[in-house]
Amino acid sequence: MIAGHFGFAAGVKAAEQQTPLWALMLSTVWLDIVFVPLFLMGIETLEPVAGLTGGYGANIIHADYTHSLVGAAALSAVFGAAFVFRWGLRSGVVLALVSFSHWVLDLIVHRADMPLLPGDIGHFPRFGFGLWQLPQATIAIEALLVVAGAWLYYRAARSVSKAAGRGIARADIASLLILIGGLGVLALDVSGILG
């Protein structure tokens, strides 16, 4: 799931207008950004589900540090704290929560591969409701998140632009970019081009 996270970030922007969209979008994929170097170092890995060849929702993701419950909470807190001095406590908390929303959305789709503690210390039961076993349902939810996020963003952006008497065209362009870009990312993800 990638596009769904972006859609969620756009929706949050409509409610938390003081926090820049780029920071919200960065925060929503922060756990995945940290995952990349760990993946390249072989610390976190992917394994195709038995009988499948990988692709959209067809991997067991051994992201035992970035996508553990406690690890995700810690990474999110660090991300939010990094912006407190620049944009204030409220934006910092919002960014931390949006970052952690990544884990919550992943909880719905991941097969039970997300541990409680970093490194799966204690070998507690893993989390994941496994909606990826029904790819069409997951695609529908991701598309819904993108469309709803773009729509909420559009309404908010239009409202502030009208009130200020400028930026209406820019608001339309940004909303369209979120919608088309988000659905494009989803299409790439589903086609297996994007992981």
Binding site: P20, D32, R86, I193
Partner: protein
Amino acid sequence: VIGAAARRGADKGEQGEAVDNAVHSGVIFFVIVVGLVDAGLPWPVPKGCSR
């Protein structure tokens, strides 16, 4: 998970890796462009803070 394609890219060879890199660059570009367009809108700014 972003980066999942890196493994498949390696499996597919250099061409596949090039495609994966281009796609991931496209996603990053998307976020930058949307962020820049959004930054030009008259959103409220927290008191005493700056963008």
